[in-house]
């Protein structure tokens, strides 16, 4: 079988991750600038090495349509050959890396910063204000507000409830995912909930948000930024850190009503991404799946074929018990327990693992990693197969 021309052509040479969570006094643009600078330092590169800039603006960037140009100006970057502001929600991060790799492989540019940042959390009000600090995510649309239908939690809850009805998925199954990821976060000093253990019993007793979601079924909300430097495999080998090669990539966007499909775009993206990479499930050492909710992880496991469709619940109950379990899944704690940088959360953790920089949470085997991104309500999906090996 002929090798795909994109396989191994590009690599990730730098990762920049700002402090995450209740970090105040910085704006979305400020976090983005910090993240790019950290990623350049990590790679041993400087600003003038960049000739491409892709931005996934978080909610607090607002509706401004030219965020990547705004960031270019904020950083004083000159003579870029690639610039775009991209938004397919949580699938954007891996998609930006794909677009960067294509541009680099075809010679349009050489070194691209892919960036996400957001600053939805406000400092606590002096007294008495119980307004949720994640209010930026609590939007209601038009006529729906009259029915009390607010926010993404409720949108996902309606889909999760269908999955439970159709396949017999239980609250325990969802809880297993929350507990397993918290156990990983307990090993990750950078995780927002690093110091907070979680048992299944505590999960069940945590407050409801939108049934069937408890508090610990839902991702965190974080201020911060994350940037990744993508360059050619050759240039990446000259960088300060070991390269993380892009073996395979694809996207899948199902359309229709997720309450009918009960599936993520992995059902479309998996096959081409795995074919390009030349891998099967058995080759994956580390799996970093998008986890806006525990439910998202469960569905995505099904759609990559870790188990039969509908068997995600029994599968996680048996195989996803956290550190030491068969599957090294969401090893940093993910968005549920570590930090919420949309698609950059799974991307960054895969890079850390493939470099062997995971410390107490480092996976035993870490040659190949799978990364998924997911946006909207199972609306958009992106896949990366990454490796520390050139081929």
């Amino acid at each position: 079988m002929s090798r795909h021309p994109l396989r191994g052509a590009a690599a990730i040479a730098g990762l920049g991750l700002t402090p995450q969570g209740k970090v105040y006094g910085n704006s979305a643009v400020g976090f983005a600038v910090d993240a790019v600078q950290l990623a350049l330092d990590d790679a041993g590169l400087v600003r003038t090495d960049l000739d491409g800039l892709l931005l996934n603006p978080g909610l607090t960037w607002g509706d401004m349509g030219m965020g990547s140009f705004q960031l270019q100006q904020a950083m004083g970057l000159r003579d870029l050959r690639l610039s775009a502001t991209m938004n397919i929600g949580g699938a954007t991060a891996a998609a930006m890396i794909q677009h960067a790799a294509q541009a680099i492989a075809t010679g349009l540019c050489t070194t691209v910063a892919c960036v996400f940042s957001d600053a939805p959390l406000k400092p606590p009000a002096p007294r008495g204000d119980k307004q949720s600090s994640g209010a930026a995510y609590a939007f209601a649309r038009g006529w729906e507000q009259a029915y009390g239908y607010y926010g993404v939690n409720a949108m996902y809850a309606l889909v999760a409830r269908r999955h439970m009805h159709r396949y017999g998925t239980t609250q325990d199954h969802l809880g297993q995912i929350a507990v397993a990821q918290r156990r990983w976060a307990n090993l990750n000093p950078a995780a927002q909930l690093h110091d907070q253990p979680l048992t299944l019993d505590e999960y069940h007793r945590s407050r409801w948000i939108a049934e069937p979601f408890h508090l610990y079924d839902c991702c965190l909300v974080s201020n911060g930024g994350c940037a990744v430097i993508v360059t050619s495999a050759e240039r990446a080998r000259a960088a300060r850190k070991p390269p993380v090669y892009l073996w395979g990539m694809a996207q899948g966007h199902l359309g229709g009503d997720p309450a009918d499909t009960l599936a993520s775009g992995a059902v479309v993206a998996k096959e081409p991404a795995f074919a390009m990479a030349g891998v099967t499930l058995a080759d994956l050492d580390v799996v970093e799946l998008y986890d806006c909710y525990t439910f998202t992880v469960l569905v995505t496991l099904e759609d990559y074929g870790f188990c039969k469709k509908g068997d995600g619940g029994p599968f996680v109950a048996e195989h996803v018990t956290g550190p030491g379990a068969r599957l090294a899944l969401n090893t940093g704690g993910g968005q549920l327990s570590s930090f919420y940088m949309w698609g950059m959360t799974p991307v960054s953790e895969a890079i850390i693992q493939l470099r062997g920089e995971g410390g107490a949470r480092q996976a035993d085997r870490y040659d190949v990693a799978l990364v998924s991104g997911n946006g909207g309500v199972l609306s958009t999906h992106s896949t990366l197969v990454l490796s520390r090996l050139a081929s």
Partner: protein
């Protein structure tokens, strides 16, 4: 804005022009959804273009008002102060006999009775003289 009780009032729907016929019908205590004039596909909420045949023309068709609960969530956080006294409350997706689905609330139905498949029928909640919300109650 406060209601008669002095508590914050629930928000009224923000009715964009394309959804106005739905709420006009509700004020008359009729349940209508949009129907593509080209291919007959029912759709809710209203859209300018039919995603099946790409037709631009549409009418509003009266519905039976009978259906069942397709999915539901019980909301425990008030996304608006007007719902603070209401939590926990259910938001439901109703699948009408005609096949189209609507987001709504249930009335006369304790939370513990809410389940997928529950047969329901439409009722009309006259929130103000100008605004009526179609809601659903268990069918007996």
């Amino acid at each position: 804005v406060t209601g008669a009780s002095g508590k914050p009032a629930k928000p009224l729907p923000q009715i964009a022009p394309d959804m106005a016929p739905f709420f006009d019908a509700a004020r008359r205590h009729e349940l209508c959804v949009q129907r593509c004039a080209g291919c007959g596909t029912l759709r809710f909420p209203a859209r300018a273009i039919c995603s099946r045949c790409l037709g631009r023309e549409a009418t509003w068709a009266p519905m039976s008002g009978r259906g069942s609960v397709f999915s539901y969530t019980v909301m425990h956080q008030a996304g608006h102060p007007g719902f603070a006294a209401e939590v926990p409350y259910a938001v439901v997706v109703i699948e009408l006999e005609e096949g189209v689905r609507l987001l709504s609330n249930l009335v006369d139905c304790p939370l513990e009775d809410v389940r997928i498949g529950l047969p329901v029928e439409v009722v009309f909640d006259d929130v103000t003289p100008e605004v009526t919300l179609p809601k659903f109650r268990p069918r007996r």
